[in-house]
Symmetry: C2
Subunit: 405 residues, 2 copies
């Protein structure tokens, strides 16, 4: 059995790397805080006798040998980066839960058949560098390493420069490292488990998601001296699209549709805005409905903007199709939850996860635990001591079960 | 007669202080570029034998003696600061047109009765530090110096620190410097003069204007895992208000209503926005209608936001009531335009100007010249060689006429 206090202490200890006044974490990928938590993680794994390697996009692999080291390892992976106003659990629980499982194996002197490893994937959040799940995507062959290297944050700084700056550009080719299966423990980030008072979500797949970038161009003009009828107000155009996108989400529930990021130019109190950049996030478990949502979004742009004398550019920058996880791993999770005596239910993830890309190259699945109010990507994100412990226990059980089979 | 080429050369020369790739100027108040243009302006005035003084909020006064130096000077004033994506003429023409008038007097050895002076008012734009016309407002007793000192830009840097940093915190008390009248030459910043092919706008007053700040608070949440019905989307709330404000402007034309600045938090592609800050600018020539616009704006906040489970704070941060200029100065302008043979029309300014505050403490008026397409607060702002010259000539004529009377 895992040690819940040790797990909790590690969660609280690492929450200091980028800890915010409101009790959350701001640990954007490839920042100094990301380097700090990576260094800490590496040291902890090495203290357990693991060998830690880093690939060319910064993914970290900490391997504990088994009885038969010809076998590819069984992986437990998630991410240590966070949103700008992120919580203490999103991603972190998956890595530190895995660390706790590893510590338990070590402490008990438990010898697995196959090696067991922990993976920390780079830039899962996609907040600093879009898209999300970038480095697990490179690992799975969805993106080239160069594509990742060229991503720029909103200040124009590249993924590659930052990866080198923090000293985590490894030499191993992304994808060269092999494992036989991956389990990802994560908080649900939605309200279902809490609502149903169920401890464990057995995740059968991930919904489809698409990201877009839109630039609306009007004309900067004086707010006092420019009559209403002469304006080309880019922010007014963007406001109409923000409403249209929300309406698309409302119409296609359980699908969701959101504008999360907006930049207004010149952003001055007495200037009619001349240019607005914003991002769109559309998701649905059914790819066909997602297609319809995309068509409706594009139709909304065309219906709203040209009549307002606004030009626009729209670009789809990311598709992550709906994913189904591996049945044999799902069974290991159910077995593990059962063994630990937790209530469980199957569910589809609304959030994207590294597991969604890894499922393309290895059998993969996920374990969810509740989070208060379904709240995530928020500094107040909260998963209890017991819930964290339950997740780590089921993760360990599932890995052992898979190793036995 | 003024020297149009010399005026134009000075406009182009100073446009380099903060010059942008698109041919505009970014010379935010109290920036390094502002210091550069101030240093240049001071040197030019001193070369004409003027005495340059600076008051406690950075206003600059360059006085050329007259025959009777007991008389208070006749002032010509405007501003050298610009918007973040400003043009080459807004404000600058008023100061450099005055400089050209002064150079002409100097060159001709023309002796005025009263002293004549040029004023460069600090922070007219109000883009970096709200509100606009800040230091002319202090001069006129509308604001205290401390109020000005405490203004913060969006990075939290204070007016006072920046004023000291660029070396333009003078010792003279604001308002202590006396003048008998002020003429402000400015580009129209609207479309009327161009439409009517009229060279000179004789400005009889300035419309009323009010600025507000609004913060909408919802809840950061995951865009993928948060069902539509659980969201508290602050950006969606802001979008509805942006539309409502535009509708208020449309309804009360010739009034105008605008959201110019917006800041979204945490501004991440996969986070439902939890907090949005934006500014509102309402204007109308009739104070009573402006009251109605304000009430409608507040009603729109209340009608839209609480039903979306969004909280908000709204604060009116600035009132600048409608202003009427001095009839005797208006006559001098008409006389001056007539003498130079230019078509003219009376008009009310849609933009705020330092003249609006100065009118409280001295007889004041303004002279407008056309700008292409009525476009201002835009890097493409354009007033022709001939129009700039016409403005400076009428300014000089009006000052001489006033001096004679
Ligand atoms: N789990 C998680 O928050 N992933 C970020 C990618 C996304 O779903 O937007
Ligand atoms: N003239 C001018 O652009 N003034 C700025 C103040 C305003 O917003 O009207």
């Amino acid at each position: 059995n895992i040690n819940p206090q040790r797990l909790w202490d590690s969660l609280m200890e690492t929450a200091k790397f980028g800890g915010t006044a409101k009790g959350g974490i701001k640990r954007l990928t490839l920042s100094d805080e990301d380097r700090q938590v990576r260094d800490w993680f590496k040291a902890q794994c090495e203290a357990l006798g693991c060998t830690v390697s880093v690939d060319e996009v910064g993914n970290m692999f900490a391997v504990r040998p088994g009885r038969n080291n010809e076998l590819p390892p069984i992986a437990m992976g998630s991410h240590l980066d966070t949103q700008p106003t992120g919580g203490k659990f999103d991603g972190v629980l998956g890595v530190l839960g895995a660390l706790e499982a590893m510590r338990t194996l070590h402490e008990q002197g438990y010898e697995t058949n196959a090696p067991v490893e922990i993976i920390n994937w780079t830039n899962e959040e996609g907040s600093r560098f879009a898209p999300a799940m970038l480095a697990s995507g490179v690992f799975a062959g969805v993106f080239t390493p160069d594509y990742a290297y060229e991503r720029l944050d909103r200040d124009g700084i590249s993924f590659k420069d930052e990866l080198e700056r923090i000293g985590y550009r490894g030499t191993e080719k992304a994808g060269a490292h092999k494992f036989q299966a991956m389990f990802e423990l994560h908080i649900e980030q939605g309200p279902i488990l809490e609502d149903e008072k169920t401890m464990i979500g057995v995740v059968t797949g991930v919904q489809g998601m698409r990201w877009y970038e839109v630039t609306v161009t009007g004309q900067d003009a004086h707010t006092g001296a420019t009559p209403m009828y002469l304006r080309k107000n880019a922010l007014l155009g963007a406001a109409r699209i923000i409403e249209a996108i929300d309406a698309i989400g409302q119409k296609h529930q359980p699908g969701v549709a959101t504008v999360g990021l907006i930049e207004n130019k010149p952003n001055s109190r007495n200037v009619v805005p001349g240019e607005v950049f914003f991002t769109v996030d559309l998701r649905h478990p059914d790819e066909e409905v997602l297609e319809v949502m995309e068509r409706e979004f594009r139709a909304a742009l065309e219906a709203a903007l040209p009549p307002m004398k606004l030009a626009y550019e729209e670009k789809r920058i990311w598709i992550s199709p709906a994913v189904k996880f591996a049945p044999e791993l799902i069974e290991c999770v159910e077995h593990g939850a059962d063994k630990a005596g937790f209530a469980m239910r199957r569910m589809v993830s609304g959030a994207g996860h590294d597991a969604a890309y890894i499922a393309r190259v290895a059998p993969t699945t996920m374990i969810f635990v509740p989070c208060e109010g379904g709240l995530s990507h928020n500094e107040a994100e909260s998963t209890s001591f017991d819930e964290c412990a339950a997740g780590a226990q089921v993760l360990l059980n599932a890995v052992i079960e898979h190793d036995r089979r």
